[in-house]
Amino acid sequence: MTALFFKEWIKLRLIWGLILAGNAAFCLYLFLDMRQQFRIEHAEMLYYQASRIGRLFYADLQYVPALTGAALAVAQFAPEMAKGRLRLSMHLPISLDGLILIHLTIGLIGLGVILAFDLAALAATVGTFFPGAFVHSALATAAPWMLAGVAAYLGGVLVLLEPCRPLQVVNLAVAGGLVTLCHLSTRFNGADHALPGLALMVGLLLPAVLLPARRFRDGGR
């Protein structure tokens, strides 16, 4: 198991670092953009826009987690599927489900670190200009976007592991549907009540990923 972690770390560290750097650059942009707004506009108007009109100053962040999740899935599983390299790992003395779940654990830890960084940066940015209530609201508003990141990662794996093209399209539609549901709300705290149900649906992706993995092992049957 340690060897698998090590193998995945060696494979992912460069691209993971690049994705993290990309997220950091985006968060810096988010901070500078909000600082610029406070420079050119009266603060009381920005408070009004944020709390009453419902303007989300950090709305640009919403698709970043999904892109991050999808990129990480491709970085981790595209090389495994190229020329069927995953089959080599299948010779290890570990069950197929165990093998895939270890891969997913590594990917989810990597994704979790990046998403936690995004949330921390969001809290720091909003907290610099607004009081605590706005920070809590921003974190709750961004929660379904983070969930979309997990859905995009697991959905990406679901698509990549599937050996049959038409079923890849089905898996892509399911993953896309889930990511879309996570982005349905356009207002702050709008998804607070929907989050448990969305989390449950995204949670179903975890065991579902084992299905295409088994089909891959069995040669696409």
Partner: protein
């Protein structure tokens, strides 16, 4: 069973996504929008008049007795609503019951108050930070102050918006003024209209920990706090403040048991409004005021109700009629057969995305039967062994068309799965 788990998880996921997406796509392609019925009391006709939409461009204008008229005639029946058109058509001033009204009088004496479910405090998200406007701005328009306040466990705390730091001086002054008036922290409800797009500012109504209602304003930079005589045991759910130049009513007060009151400028006296058949979680309540009478109108997707009242809010006539809606249209009837239920994830009557399940009763069950027969036909054509089909049967029984589609989209199960 364990070896079924990935298939079950995937099938359940596909079915859930389909249960949301397919009815939404169906409605997008075949759905018909029907505008809500508009119902008024006509001071001209002394009867209720309405505009009813039956889809496309089919509008009916009529009164409660069934007499139909054209759009222009309809508008002349409710002159306090369409006073500007009446003025353009040269029909003003108008004399009703011995009183004569011109356009200016009509404009200044009419008022509309509305409380929609999505406005109620517990049905929408809110960031509990508010601007307290200067009620005497000394200029033509209201303007936002450079501070906001929030109610903490023991203070009305002001923050400077430029520095995002606590303004100790303002915090102390307003907290002391509240405490001196008998305010018991923490606050239970903060109700105001934090916008400068209104003619004047009446500050905020604060409900304290004991249920007492306090009225707080900023006048010439100083706190003005009034402990109102509104009963503490009312069980206040929401207060909607609605400032107008007429200065007759501060707004509407809704209680936990769905009673609705007007808060008057006359020593904060509460005027009870008719609420029979009113459900604040489903219905928007509209109160139309003019110098002759008041009309309360409220309803949902099925029925609309109206109560006509004298100017001192004594009901003298009531009327209710079904809303045409879309339920009887062909596409809606077909949807009830096709889909056993619909999963909605939307902002229904509120500001939060919520999960809702709409079941379609016996027609939905019949739809499940049709889906089952379709599945059996497909599997017979595929010459699939019957024993291997029970998980699919379970899926179709649970999801009807959605389950059937999930079965067709799922890869065929191998013995090794």
């Amino acid at each position: 069973m364990l070896c079924l788990t990935p298939r079950f998880a995937f099938a359940a996921l596909v079915m859930l996504v389909l249960a949301i997406a397919v009815p939404a796509a169906y409605t997008l392609v075949f759905g018909v929008e029907v505008a809500p019925t508009q119902l008024f009391y006509s001071p001209v006709r002394k009867a209720f008049v309405f505009r009813e939409h039956h889809g496309a461009h089919d509008f009916i204008y009529a009164d409660q007795h069934g007499e139909r008229f054209d759009r222009r005639t309809f508008e002349t029946q409710i002159p306090f609503i369409y006073y500007r058109n009446m003025d353009l058509w040269g029909l003003l001033p108008i004399t009703l019951d011995g009183q004569t009204f011109d356009a200016v009088t009509m404009r200044d004496t009419r008022q509309i108050l509305e409380l929609a479910p999505r406005e109620i405090r517990d049905r929408r998200p809110e960031i509990d930070v508010y601007p307290l406007l200067e009620a005497n701005p000394g200029r033509a328009r209201l303007q936002f102050p450079e501070d906001v306040f929030r109610m903490t466990a023991d203070a009305m705390e002001f923050l400077n918006v430029d520095t995002n730091t606590v303004d100790t001086d303002l915090t102390t002054r307003f907290t002391m003024a509240l405490t001196a008036a008998g305010f018991a922290f923490p606050a239970g409800l903060v109700a105001g209209k934090p916008t400068i797009l209104k003619p004047l500012d009446e500050g905020y109504f604060l409900v304290d920990a004991a249920g007492a209602v306090f009225h707080v304003k900023r006048v010439d930079g100083r706190p003005q706090v009034v402990r109102t005589p509104i009963p503490t045991d009312l069980g206040i759910r929401h207060i909607k403040v609605s400032e107008t130049r007429s200065r007759a009513f501060y707004g509407l007060l809704l209680t936990d048991d769905a009673r609705l009151f007007l808060i008057t400028y006359d020593a904060y006296r509460l005027v009870p409004l008719p609420v029979e058949s009113y459900d604040p979680d489903r219905m928007a309540y509209k109160l139309l005021l003019n110098p002759m009478q008041a009309t309360a109108v409220f309803g949902d997707e099925a029925m609309i109700h109206a109560v006509a009242m004298t100017r001192d809010f004594q009901p003298f006539d009531r009327y209710a009629r079904p809303v045409p809606g879309t339920a009887d249209m062909v596409y809606a009837r077909l949807a009830r057969w096709l889909f056993p239920y619909t999963v909605h994830l939307d902002e229904h009557n509120g500001g939060y995305l919520t999960w809702r399940l709409t079941d379609h009763g016996w027609t939905g069950v019949a739809g499940i039967g049709i889906a089952l027969l379709t599945l059996l036909a497909v599997e017979r054509w595929r010459r699939s062994p019957w024993r291997a089909q029970w998980p699919k049967l379970v899926l179709v029984v649970a999801g009807g068309l959605f389950g059937l589609l999930a079965c067709l989209l799922l890869p065929e199960r191998r013995a090794i799965d």
